[in-house]
Amino acid sequence: MRDKGLIFGGLGIFLVAVTFPVWYNVAAGTTNKGPEPKLPAAEKQCVAPTETMRTSHMDMLITWRDQVVRQNRREYKAFNGATYEMRLTGTCLKCHDNKAEFCDRCHNYAGVQPYCWECHVDPAHLQRSGG
């Protein structure tokens, strides 16, 4: 075992190199936590169960859009019997009044850039910019 130092030294360097991503993320404070959208404090019930909204809100918004614009149908009968007006700013943003802390947090995490806001107006943003 003449090369003991060399072997264990090399192994040590190898282990550090292999586990470098782990150390790096620990040092940088990265976690595997998902995004944490801020839910509205006052309102507890959305237009559909949370699971459905989480996975399919985009499909629902497209359906709403087509029904309102193309078929002039504006009322949405929710799963619990309640009726909502199909509006992005008027209905969704009425409860989810903080787009930056709700919509954007997940969208940024997932790296998606929905183009809703190129035309539709976020009232909260409007107030802040004094427009």
């Binding site: 614009v69 107006v121 009232p123």
Partner: protein, 253 residues
Amino acid sequence: MDRRKFLGIAAGASALAIAGSALPKVIGGGSEGGTEPSSAVRWAMVIDPSKCLKKDGCTACMDACDKIHNIPDFHDPKHEVKWIWKEPFENAFPEQENKFTAEKFKDKPFILLCNHCDNPPCVRVCPTQATWKREDGIVMMDWHRCIGCRYCMAACPYGSRSFNWLDPRTHIERMDPGFPTRTKGVVEKCTLCEERIARGEKPACVEACPEKAMVFGNLSDPKSEARQLLQERYSIRRKPELGTQPEVYYLID
């Protein structure tokens, strides 16, 4: 009956049958003529220019429309976006070709907007069905679907459609969050305030007019104010000779 005679009779009968089914279509000419509207609701506008001209330089209807629909102002006629606007009588009604126009209308500004035609040429040319005629007569637009080809602008004989050459967002004086803006590369026009009609309200221009010069109503209803006005008074429409069947009427007596 021999074979030759039978074939002759058969050919004659089928020719008659074909002519019989095709002729009424040719003579009827599709949507031509002042027939009763076919649907239960047919929204239309009746404008009384004499009332409109009472107040010199009034822009109440245009201002109301600009405000609630987030219409941009680029301060450049080349980029003008307009839903409702003014044009001198002679330009609005070029087919009148009168040598002497009545003094009360000569060079006077007339209020113009999308005519929501019964036979809209813009709808025929749109390649993506971003514009279409609703059952209640409104020529509607889906800005999500518009690809900005501007065929509709070429087809519209009234200049009712505008194109966003620049980003309109930066040129809106006061943004109303209740209505979306448009984006660069999209055509826009008057929608007869369909979002207000859905709530049971009148179009914003009609409501804003201090002289009540604009009357909005259902032409399918013989008792509606609009229909009554058209029955009692003499009205003209813009470029009716084109067969577009515009549904904005101007009372000129």
